[in-house]
């Protein structure tokens, strides 16, 4: 359980950075940390005690392999999820550059105009 708790703490730290900090770069850092926490959560879900990587090496029996290897499914999902996080961060960075060019600041409080 303590592992899940640590991941949850990481997630909440990221959420705090994203919601409360007024600097756009800090928000992006929060997004990044949340992404780490989620990816780590997925990998931990697939972990088996004393497991090996889900990659066959020559000279290994398939029965052995199936019993020992960690779950490959979460790893495949995390591969996708990492790329999705990267693309969101890419997009957010370009938004923040654009905002900086208009206002000369990354401070969300200064640039804020919309009320809703």
């Amino acid at each position: 359980m303590i592992i899940y708790m640590c991941i949850a703490i990481m997630f909440f730290v990221g959420l705090y950075g994203m919601m409360v900090k007024k600097n756009i770069i800090k928000m992006i850092i929060g997004v990044n940390i949340i992404g780490y926490a989620v990816n780590l959560f997925f990998i931990v879900l697939g972990y088996r005690k004393n497991g090996i990587a889900p990659i066959m090496v020559p000279g290994m029996e398939i029965k052995d392999f199936v019993q020992k290897a960690v779950n490959p499914l979460p790893q495949a999902l995390v591969l996708t999820s990492i790329v999705i996080d990267l693309s969101i961060i890419c997009f957010l960075a370009s938004l923040s550059i654009r905002i900086y060019e208009k206002y000369g600041s990354f401070d969300f409080e200064k640039i804020r105009r919309l009320k809703g």
Partner: protein, 489 residues
């Protein structure tokens, strides 16, 4: 049965091909996008025959069986969404060919338009949790881009806000998916439902909560609504039509339909949450819409209120409740898209959406005023038009379940809706202006609106009794079907 996957493939191909050619020829890009969307509409119409003959179509991508590969499924419920989506996308695309001439580089717009369409189609046909997440992300990122397409400062700020909140929604959903993977070891919805019947309730409520929170954020139900008015009012008008009319329903409402009725059937109490959320957003949206000075912002708040009707009807449940939810989805999509296209046409001519700056449009743009009035009357529930039928069904469903207070609130909110639309009409359409000369408006802007308003008129007069047989099939699925039945066969 390769027709089931053809909309996604066609829209993806369209995006990649337009990305190759848009720099040389921007006009061709628009026509390519339009023709691909018409092709996918045709393929969906062809698919309809098989769906209603066979009850449901199941497709194994790559030929791998149920828990191993990704499985796709279309039944009559998702077919209704698929049909509405794919028949409206060509109209919106047609409208934007002229409208997007105001913007630089419309070629990029068509790429993103194709991507968002591919994403929405992918959500509707999928039967795999993670696959739904991936296509949800495609559609969401494309919508963040479209909101910022005009590159004005407010638009970029709205996009930033929308991106951050949309990311939170996606994160809640993916944590739920992770818990499903950890609990049951599978990602297939049918397989999960089959296993979940044997799990105890306290192992599942957290997943359900995460899903409801995440998808209500995408749908903009009341406590999670605050990104919607900014995003939908600042986007280019065809994009607002797309987002308000289709996007929030396909990415948020359709998964909620499935989750409440077909997946987590062991939690009947989750419907009460939906009634609460729906009522709150109905009341809040309509009261906020009353004193807006910007027309698009008023329409956006009205969207929150009308989405509340859908969620409320889904929460009430039973035959009439589900029928009302589906009907209101269809008619509100038609009417709200019509309204946003309408204001887009006005904006194209006058470059403003403020109420004070527009006057006496009745003499200047007669066709636009006629179609706009049809849309407004439909949304406020005036008898012959579409939304009247859905609202009356929702009220009947509330009365049947003895929720008299809710029925009363529905009527009141409908009256308020009528009130603010009448005020809008009096101010911008029928007020007197000094110069009253008919203004030329492009055929391409007008035709999609005319087609949509003909649909709304017909839906009130002819269609509703005739399409009832198809709707009954979808309602039957919402009432009786769980995904576990697929595994039992």
């Amino acid at each position: 049965m390769n027709l089931i996957i053809s909309p996604v493939i066609l829209y993806l191909l369209s995006a990649f091909l337009i990305a190759l050619i848009w720099k040389e020829n921007e006009k061709l890009a628009g026509f390519a996008s339009l023709s691909f969307s018409i092709l996918s509409m045709i393929s969906v119409i062809l698919l309809g025959r098989f769906v209603f003959l066979n009850e449901r179509i199941i497709y194994f991508v790559g030929g791998w069986e149920v828990p191993i590969g990704i499985t796709l499924m279309v039944d009559s419920l998702s077919y209704i969404f698929l049909f509405t989506l794919n028949s409206m996308l060509p109209l919106i695309c047609w409208f934007s060919i002229t409208y997007m001439k105001k913007y630089t580089n419309p070629g990029l717009f068509y790429i993103v338009f194709s991507l968002i369409s591919a994403g929405m189609n992918g959500i509707l046909i999928s039967m795999d949790f993670f696959n739904i997440y991936v296509f949800l992300e495609i559609a969401s990122i494309a919508s963040y881009i479209l909101v910022a397409f005009g590159l004005r400062t407010e638009e970029i700020e709205a996009s930033l806000k929308y991106t951050i909140l949309g990311f939170i929604g996606s994160t809640l959903i993916i944590i739920g998916i992770g818990l499903i993977l950890g609990k049951t070891g599978t990602l297939n919805i049918a397989d999960f439902t089959y296993i979940a019947e044997n799990l105890r309730k306290h192992q599942l409520w957290f997943i359900l909560g995460l899903f409801i929170a995440g998808f209500s954020l995408k749908t903009a139900l009341f406590p999670f609504h605050f990104w919607l008015p900014d995003a939908h009012s600042l986007a280019p008008s065809p994009v607002s039509a797309l987002l308000s009319g289709l996007f929030i329903k396909v990415t948020g409402l359709y998964p909620l339909f499935r989750i409440i009725t077909n997946i987590f059937v062991m939690f009947p109490e989750s419907k009460i949450i939906l009634i609460g959320l729906g009522l709150a957003s109905m009341i809040f949206g309509s009261f906020m819409a009353i004193d807006q000075i910007d027309i698009k912002r008023m329409y956006a708040y009205s969207s929150i209120s009308q989405i509340g009707y859908c969620a409320l009807s889904l929460g009430i449940g039973g035959y009439w409740g589900y029928l009302g939810a589906i009907l209101h989805f269809i008619f509100h999509s038609l009417s709200k898209s019509l309204l946003f296209l309408n204001i887009g046409a006005i904006e194209y001519k006058y470059n403003t959406t403020k109420i004070e700056e527009l006057k006496g449009l009745e003499d200047k743009l007669p066709y636009v005023v006629t179609t706009g009035s049809i849309g407004m009357l439909s949304i406020s529930g005036i008898p012959p038009f579409g939304c009247f039928w859905s609202k009356i069904v929702i009220i009947i469903s509330a009365i049947k379940k003895h929720y008299y207070g809710i029925a009363f609130i529905c009527v009141i909110i409908s009256t308020i809706t009528l009130g603010y639309f009448l005020r809008l009409k009096r101010n911008i359409f029928y007020s007197k202006d000094d110069e009253s000369k008919t203004v030329e408006i492009s055929y391409n802007l007008l035709m999609p609106m005319v087609i949509l308003s003909i649909f709304i008129l017909l839906s009130g007069l002819v269609f509703t009794p005739n399409i009832k047989i198809y709707l009954d099939k979808a309602v039957y699925i919402m009432e009786n079907f769980t995904y576990a039945k697929i595994m039992e066969k």
